[in-house]
């Protein structure tokens, strides 16, 4: 058994182990510390695996049920980054809550267990070569994250959890139907038994699948997983859940939960495309969903008052952009991957800073959070910079990814798509800056108190943002290769 | 430069105060008065040159330099124009524009000097002056543009030598209209009736005179001289254009020109006697009319060359 396969099995087990451990730790603090250290450890493991895969060929595990190729390796990297960022900020974020006892031992333990649980579930999604297993992973993430939302059982968080659960369970049910149909579509082909659930065999026999069934299956999966990914019009749970969850959880939600669901759709895209003879049948759906998400997000951001809801809608927008890029294919698919990476980094930072601001100002209302640059150079500047990065200001990377997607649309002659895309982006830009300017500069009436930030927290703000800046201008070759090969699996090129 | 050219040039410098005299005499005749002698202007200037000066404590160096500079600028503009009718090589392409802008700078300095005194009356005059200039300048430029269009040249000499019988035959109406708009511009630029009454004594209604209320002695002499030279200059622009169809040359041209100037003086005098001064609110309309006339002339002339 090669050492990649070893890492693979370690990866699957590690989070489970940690989550059990965290149920037996003595103090809340220790749980949170375990969260930080353990997550970083897992992230490192994921990184090594990803590197190994990107260096060589796909890795298989447990008789073909687990498989890591470029696409999943890239998503693994993003997952690692997001969870590491989220976990590292956790101790700092909950520090005062531990002090004032609002985060007691039991809820801390639950938090730790769920944290690692969700991490493990997402790993299952990314590592599985079996559509059924992938679906199980998604269901598991739904359940586990649902309880992460209401670490503090307030009416708001309960309502958010309820909506999240109900909508996503319907979605997951539909996704399951889709998987059924996909499995059934192997009828005419040579695949049989458990084989017909393996992505590899589906991909291999894509040409000989029952077109009608795979189409129907894809539609059900887009709707089902799309609900989880927060594609409009299935997105409605997203702002509620984000606004109620603790900042690190929201960061993970926006940073990766959505991407994980999107990943499932991406997995099926090449299959259905090959089955339908590469006529862009499936891509069309993605493009439509993406555009709808962007426009919806834009119209809500323009009149948003709640800081975290605004960030949530911005996630909706970016998921839409990623879907649009993947749907357009070609350079846009590369851009979509690049965009996913940049968005995850930027959004985690934004949520971290927003969380601190909200704690200090004791409100979510952006009209009451003002003068942050003066009141807290670190969190204020960090928030402003991450917002600028997210709405696509050069030289942050997102500006260029959006440009690439636009360019693909224009060169393909889809001027309508290009216009709608551009309009959405502009509305978002205007809507966000309208609040960002007072948030940053308007002299504040209240006198917010910020706990002294640790050096680690400085790093957590500065490093991701500088990485985004640097990525806008220069990208290390291996990253370019990674993105290219990941996009290649979506039928993308450079 | 040929003798005729020199003659034309000097005529202005020497005779321009006389033009004022002619105008005043005409008005006197209309009014049935005996009127001041024709050379009154010369006497006034001589008297002023002999006097000392009073400077307002508010003023700065600008106020002291302005009169000299204004006179120099008007003189320069006049030099560009005067000999061009007889000297075919005089001037250079585009001297029309330099001509206009020299006068513009003169106005700029007059206005600035007026504001330098800080008196509200002079400010009043200044604000009217700039309004008139803003409207008169386009009219003048468009008129010149018509001439350039018809003659196919863009220098005074080119224009005046280019306007022969054939041009007048084909584009006569246009040119005639230009003459009229130049007349209006002249009245406005020299703040004559109906735009302003040079010998009113009510500061509230004055334009040019009120701007120089605080000037005295030699400065005022320079200003009066500059004013009459400016009047002469605009009149000669109009006259040169008006007599161009006669196709004169050499001394005949000079004679014709002087005759024309005399006629112009009488014309102005007549206008001032028979028309009342317009209210300040109405004058912009008249100037805009001049611009409109020039545009009309262009539209007529545009057919030319087709």
């Amino acid at each position: 058994m090669s050492n990649e396969t070893l890492i693979l099995s370690v990866l699957i087990t590690l989070p489970a182990v940690f989550s059990i451990i965290s149920l037996f730790l003595p103090t809340p603090r220790s749980v949170l510390l375990l969260c930080a250290s353990g997550t970083v450890l897992v992230a490192l493991a994921m990184g090594t695996l990803a590197l190994a895969v990107l260096g060589g060929s796909p890795v298989f595990g447990s008789n073909g049920w687990l498989r890591v190729d470029a696409l999943s390796a890239f998503h693994l990297t993003v997952l690692g980054i997001v969870y590491a960022l989220g976990a590292l900020q956790t101790p700092g974020y909950f520090r005062d809550e531990i002090e004032d006892g609002s985060l007691n031992l039991s809820s801390a333990r639950r938090y730790g267990a769920l944290w690692f649980g969700s991490l493990g579930a997402m790993l299952i999604v990314l590592l599985s070569n079996n559509m059924g297993l992938m679906w199980v992973g998604i269901e598991a993430t739904t359940l586990l994250t649902a309880f992460l939302i209401c670490v503090h059982a307030t009416p708001g968080s309960l309502e958010a959890m309820w909506k999240y659960l109900l909508m996503c369970s319907v979605g997951v049910a539909l996704a399951f139907t889709g998987t059924l149909l996909a499995a059934a579509s192997t009828g005419p082909s040579a695949v049989h038994g458990t084989e017909s659930l393996l992505w590899t065999s589906l991909m291999a026999n894509a040409a000989s699948l029952d077109v009608m069934l795979i189409k129907a299956g894809f539609i059900f999966m887009v709707i089902g997983y799309g609900t989880k990914a927060g594609l409009a019009p299935m997105h409605s749970w997203l702002p509620d859940a984000h606004s109620q969850a603790p900042a690190p959880v929201s960061a993970v939600f926006s940073g990766f939960l959505l991407n994980a669901a999107l990943y499932c759709i991406f997995r099926c895209l090449p299959i259905v495309e090959t089955a339908t003879g590469n006529t862009g049948w499936g891509r069309g759906i993605l493009v439509a969903a993406g555009l709808l998400s962007i426009l919806t997000a834009a119209s809500f951001i323009a009149v948003q008052r709640d800081i975290k809801r605004m960030l949530a809608y911005s996630s909706l927008e970016h998921i839409g952009i990623i879907a649009l890029g993947a749907g357009l294919g070609g350079v846009a698919a590369f851009a979509a991957m690049f965009h996913m990476l940049s968005h995850s980094i930027g959004k985690s930072t934004a949520f971290m800073c927003a969380g601190r601001l909200m704690k200090a100002y004791k409100t979510n209302d952006m009209r009451k959070i003002t003068g942050t640059l003066a009141s807290s150079p670190l969190w204020g500047a960090g928030f402003l910079a991450s917002l600028l990065a997210l709405i696509g200001t050069a030289p942050f990377a997102i500006f260029f990814t959006e440009f690439m997607i636009l360019r693909t649309a224009v060169n393909a002659g889809d001027y309508l798509i290009a216009t709608a895309f551009l309009a959405g982006l502009s509305v978002v830009f205007i809507g966000v800056m309208r609040y960002a300017i007072p948030i940053a500069w308007k002299p504040s009436e209240s006198a917010p108190v910020f706990p002294a930030a640790s050096p680690l927290e400085y790093l957590l703000v500065i490093v991701p943002l500088s990485v985004l800046l640097a990525l806008g201008v220069w990208m290390p070759p291996f990253l370019t290769r990674t993105l290219a090969s990941a996009a290649g699996l979506l039928g993308g090129t450079m | 430069m040929s003798a005729e050219g020199l003659l034309l040039l000097l005529s202005g410098f020497l005779l321009s105060p006389l033009l004022q005299g002619v105008i005043n005499r005409t008005k006197a005749v209309f009014a049935g008065r005996k009127g001041s002698p024709l050379l009154q202007q010369y006497r006034d200037m001589a008297k002023l040159l002999r006097k000392g000066a009073v400077f307002s404590t508010t003023t700065t160096g600008i106020f002291r330099i302005a009169p000299s500079a204004v006179l120099v600028l008007v003189a320069a503009a006049y030099t560009l124009l005067a000999p061009s009718t007889v000297e075919s090589g005089w001037g250079f392409p585009g001297d029309l524009i330099l001509f206009v802008y020299c006068l513009g700078l003169a106005r700029f300095l007059t206005v600035t000097a007026a504001l330098d005194t800080g008196s509200s009356f002079e400010g009043m005059g200044a604000s009217r002056e700039v309004l008139y200039s803003a409207l008169a300048e386009p009219a003048l430029i468009i008129g010149l543009a018509v001439l350039a269009r018809v003659s196919g040249e863009m220098s005074f000499s080119g224009v005046f030598h280019g306007l022969g019988d054939s041009e007048w035959l084909s584009a006569g109406t246009a040119l005639a209209i230009v003459v009229v708009s130049f007349l209006i511009v002249m009245l406005a630029e020299n703040s004559r009736i109906p735009f302003d009454d040079p010998n009113t004594h009510l500061e509230l209604t004055m334009v040019h005179e009120v701007m120089v209320l605080d000037c005295s002695g030699p400065d005022f002499a320079l200003i009066t001289y500059g004013a009459s030279l400016k009047l002469w200059l605009f009149a000669s622009l109009m006259v040169n254009l008006a007599i161009s169809p006669l196709g004169l040359s050499g001394y005949a041209q000079v004679a014709g020109f002087l005759g024309g100037m005399l006629f112009a003086g009488i014309l102005v005098g007549t206008i001032e006697s028979v028309t009342a001064r317009l209210s300040l609110l109405k004058t912009p309309g008249l100037l805009t009319g001049a611009g409109a006339l020039a545009v009309l002339a262009f539209i007529l002339a545009a057919r030319y060359l087709q």
């Binding site: 019009p233 636009l406 224009v410 | 513009g104 400010g123 803003a134 430029i141 543009a145 611009g291």
Partner: protein, 667 residues
Amino acid sequence: MVISLLIASLSLFLAGSFLLLFLPGKYRAVRVIGPATTLSGSVSGIIASVFSFISGPVESTGFALSTPSGSFALGIDFLSALFAIPVLVISSLCAIYGIGYLKPFEESGKDTARFWSFFNLLSGSMLLVTVSRNALLFLLGWEVMAVSSFFLVMFEAGKESVRKAGWTYLVATHLGTACLLVLFSMLSSGGSMNFSDLALPDGTAFGAGVAFVLAMTGFGAKAGFVPLHVWLPEAHPSAPSNVSAVMSGVMIKTGIYGILRFLLFLGFPPAWWGWVILLTGILSGIAGVLFALAQHDIKRLLAYSSVENIGIIAIGLGLGFLGVSYRIPAMAYLGFVGAILHTLNHSVFKSLLFMGAGSVVRETGCKQLDRLGGLMKRMPSTGISFLTGSAAISGFPPLNGFISELIIYLAAFSGLTAGTGASSSAALAGLLAAGSLALTGGLALACFTRAFGIVFLGEPRSSCAENARETAGSMRFSMWFLSAACIVLGLAGPVLLEFLWPAAGFLCHGFGYYPEGVSSPLFKNTLEMVTLVSASLILGTAVLFRAKTILLSRRRVTAAPTWDCGYSSPVPSMQYTASSFAEPVIRLFGKSLGTRQSFREPGGLFPGKSSFSSETPDMYREKLYRPVFERMERLFSSLRMIQHGRVNLYILYIVAALFSLLVWKLG
């Protein structure tokens, strides 16, 4: 050699601004490092540009950017150098000016380090814009330029007005960039984004037309063409004055550069392009100067006058394009030369004027014309510089403004006198250009006699003007420098024409127009004569003035209060005010300006208090943009209803989406 100098200059700017971020509050260090960075960066950049004149165009393909088909390709040709040099010179002068200008802020404990950091970033990015040879790199520079200038505008963001201005600016510049994104996408359909490979996919006239409109909108928003100018009168007054000087003086010119540079990729220009540019120019020129005339805030006034001058530049460009389309060599060449030269000149005197306004604001602490006055005696250097600038911007000999306007006039008259082909359209263009230039000039005279006269002449209208003192040395230095430049450039007409002629040739050939008989500059003689006349004007004035002084020296010269027509005790508040000075013009054009006047007339036998006030908000902002934005906001607010909290409805959305997809894709 040249390229490495460019890279050196860019990296100097970048390194400096990065370093400065870490020195908040260390004023002594910042005061040195900030300007030093700008100067060093500019010097190497200027050397590079000058070398490029000798060595001819150079180009390099640098390393690849993170984005596919983007590369760090730098290069410099005549056009780039012509825009790069003013950028660097003005930036360094404004940096020197800034040393003195920022003193009060330092005393009030403001973070000038951030200011200097962004200032250097702005200068560097402007240089990058002019010398980049890859569309993506250009975009990078373009956006950094926008963002850094935005942060500079927000320098005094404690004020509500400044924040509003910053927002307007950001929105405007972003929408402009949006157009550019599409334009560049169209041009780069081939894949590569290096300038050498940019071209339209198919030579259809329609595609070219779309591209042209996009370029005009995208770059026009930066340049400030009416009606895209609305950000300009907001942002420039709000920024610190040396930033306003940079923005008004050189930053908005990058828009002009962009138009010239990118229209070159669109092939031979049809006549309607020229007409669009010309009419835009005429509209901008007249509207700009009228709005300027109606302002009460000196910096707003200057900002609007920038709109006017951009209009004049556009008139020149329009004539140039029409000259190309109608194949009239003189018109084409003179139009382009005039436009470029006016760009150059405007950057000189507009930054001079903003510096003057800046020192007035710094010393008196107020921007309202009607509270100033009598500053000529109190701050003579500023006053004389401002006077020079005002005369220059009104386009009078012997100053530089006249030269460029004269050349544009010559282009117009060449159109007028063109005897062949489409001459009547060319003549119409010439007439419109000449007429509107004259009107603009006349109004500019009104505007700047008002600005200078009310601020610097007469008696102080308030205590703040009363106690004004002359400004800091560094500021005086920059102003003197630029005033001298106004005169020198004004006398150097023939040289400039000679020098800029190849640029016009470059453009004409770029558009695929190779006219005959323009190898040597036309109308050189004219400009020589102009220089001669200007010189003799100065001389003559000097002589006459001297003579007069000698004459007076033997006479009794007395000083007395201004003659007040018999009124017993005049007070400063009785002076003519800016509002009253502009009133006749405003009354004439007020309708088209949307000026609001509130007038309480004195009445009764014993009149009590009476008041008059007039304000002129930007009509385009009020009538054009505000309604659109308000309507959009209403629309979005009503859209929120689709998400009113009921989970049943949300699930209905899911079901609906499922069914519509099934019907759409399987039906």
